[in-house]
């Protein structure tokens, strides 16, 4: 019953989101397509972090570092002449490798230590991006003068306008949702949740906790790398300023506010937190623009007050129990 309704909700939302551009393209509202694309990238990041933070329960405060690593490595490959597909693939490889190298020593640590180490890693990454001039061009970012990042070409179609990227990102988000759901409802996904719920009990019930954590930690960084690559191929430049600690905190709040571990919750959280300030910026204009973070903050506090479990709290899937023991 519930399953049918949530599928319906999904289909309706998708329909609206895919028809929307047809109405606004070419009108004064066409800037919302760009906003939509940006929000979509945040949804992608939030879905990724939801695996570690929401499902495995790892307190990861430096997720943006991997978005940055994905974005920078994709830029470097693209500048080197590789097309979108190859640079994305290799940026995923690099991001996941670095993620696992960080995870190997750190995932044995308990919650608060993990938070501190990931936070530190986030800052270190930003410092390296700022100072490793020969590779990252420091604060000026990539590409350097005279170089360029190519756009995305799908078969023979060159993506040039915001509406193209809007559709591409929408498709990727949809794919990411399917992947998240499939991972969640599987043997590995259950193991992740068990680790979140009680690490010791999970280990003693036969789950190799460290390995399962590494899997989740790695999987989430795939999302970050893809988001990073999409971002730079669309934006065509990248600087360290896009990857501050504040951004990591934003993604964490998207998940907490939306409903930890709940996919629809996390998506709603991402849309609200990334979308509201963007919209307010445009809508308020003039004198009111400086109030936008105030309004934003008040909204967050209200939501936390009235829905402490998040906008759409996570729910476990009920299974058919069969007749034989129903008393």
């Amino acid at each position: 019953m519930r399953k049918v309704t949530s599928t319906t909700v999904l289909v309706v939302n998708l329909l609206i989101l895919s028809l929307y551009p047809l109405f606004v393209q070419g009108t004064s509202l066409s800037y919302t397509l760009r906003l939509g694309g940006i929000v979509g990238l945040y949804v992608l990041l939030a879905l990724g972090l939801n695996i570690t933070l929401g499902l495995v329960g790892l307190f990861d405060l430096g997720f943006m570092a991997f978005y940055a690593i994905g974005a920078y490595s994709a830029s470097i490959f693209s500048i080197g002449g590789w097309n979108f597909w190859y640079s994305t693939l290799f940026s995923i490889l690099i991001t996941v490798t670095l993620r696992l190298l960080l995870g190997a020593p750190v995932l044995r640590l308990r919650g608060d230590y993990l938070a501190i180490v990931t936070l530190g890693f986030g800052e270190i990454t930003r410092l390296i991006l700022n100072n490793w001039d020969s590779v990252t061009n420091g604060p000026k970012g990539l590409p350097r003068v005279g170089e360029s990042i190519s756009g995305i070409k799908i078969w023979n179609f060159e993506l040039t306008e915001n509406i193209h990227y809007y559709y591409l990102i929408l498709a990727v988000v949809f794919l990411a949702m399917i992947i998240s759901k499939r991972l969640e409802n599987s043997r590995i996904g259950r193991a992740w949740t068990a680790v979140r719920e009680d690490e010791t009990a999970a280990e003693l019930s036969g789950i190799p906790v460290t390995r399962v954590k590494m899997l989740g930690f790695g999987a989430s960084s795939v999302f970050a790398a893809i988001a990073g690559s999409l971002f730079i191929h669309w934006e065509k430049f990248v600087t360290p300023e896009s990857f501050t600690f504040w951004e990591s905190v934003l993604v964490v709040s998207m998940i907490v506010l939306g409903g930890i571990g709940s996919m629809s919750g996390v998506i709603s959280g991402a849309i609200l937190i990334s979308g509201i300030p963007l919209l307010l910026q445009v809508l308020l204009g003039g004198d009111f623009i400086s109030y936008r973070y105030l309004i934003f903050g008040i909204t967050l506090v209200l939501i936390i007050l009235f829905r402490p479990q998040g906008l759409v709290p996570s729910q476990r899937q009920a299974l058919e129990l069969g007749e034989k023991d129903s008393k």
């Binding site: 499939r182 190799p208 999987a219 009920a318 129990l321």
Partner: protein, 254 residues
């Protein structure tokens, strides 16, 4: 045949000797009770057997194979499962899902088969679901299958812990005070369940404070006091052993 054997097992916490030179044998198919006053080292013994902590010295053999020094999940996969003195379920998962976790070490689906939903994936998922339902119904919890573990009544939570342990297909089941906090009729039901488990050929090592339960169910009893094995024997021998009576009545004020 010997299922489990410990050889001069010692565990020290700083200066405290929680277990000293414990030699211990469990033959296949028996119910063995481990008793002793509070702080005697019973739970510590379980922690050593399951790999939660490593012995300070001594060895543990499980069907002839040395298992100390290995991680708990590996030991579980070898065939030792346990419950906890303070219930440790996965509170925000359903009863059925708690049980399904027990199947983890007996199944193999990884990320890729989950992503591509291969036939092998569906086959294994339905196998996991089916065995979890079977064991839930075995302990009498199937009707509660979709209830979150944290919302189950206390007695059912204890049973669910046992179900989860059983789903790992253990040859040896360690139960740490399974009747703690239960009323007499719930305890009675649990004792029947333990008997039923033994009939499946699973050996049981039971920590239990209620002497009535211990004397009724055990093939063999081992008594620990201050980390030292002070007696062992069948229920009758233990009841009449002067050292045991001393440990239970006099020991606390020493």
């Amino acid at each position: 045949m010997l299922l489990l054997e410990t050889k001069s097992l010692c565990k020290k916490f700083g200066g405290l000797s929680a277990l000293a030179d414990v030699n211990f044998k469990i033959p296949q198919g028996e119910i063995i009770s481990l008793i002793g006053p509070n702080g005697a080292g019973k739970t510590t013994f379980f922690n050593l057997l399951t790999g939660v902590t490593e012995p300070s010295s001594g060895d543990i053999f499980f069907s002839g194979e040395r298992i100390n020094g290995f991680s708990p999940h590996w030991i579980t996969a070898r065939g030792i499962a346990r419950t906890f003195q303070n219930i440790r379920l996965f509170p925000n998962m359903t009863a059925l899902e708690n049980g399904m976790i027990g199947r983890h070490c007996r199944t193999r689906n990884e990320v890729l088969s989950a992503l591509f939903r291969t036939p092998a994936f569906y086959r294994e998922e339905s196998e996991i679901e089916k065995s979890a339902k079977e064991i839930l119904s075995f302990v009498g919890l199937l009707p509660m299958g979709n209830v979150l573990a944290k919302n189950l009544p206390y007695g059912d939570q204890r049973k669910l812990e046992i179900a989860r342990a059983l789903l790992t297909e253990p040859r040896l089941l360690l139960l740490d005070e399974p009747t703690a906090g239960m009323n007499p009729s719930e305890s009675e039901e649990l004792i029947l369940l333990i008997e039923k488990i033994r009939q499946q050929g699973i050996s049981i090592l039971l920590i239990e404070h209620q002497m009535r339960v211990v004397m009724g169910i055990s093939d063999h009893i081992i008594v620990l006091d201050h980390g030292i094995k002070i007696a062992e024997g069948d229920p009758h021998q233990i009841q009449t052993n002067p050292d045991v009576i001393e440990a239970y009545l006099g020991g606390h004020h020493a």
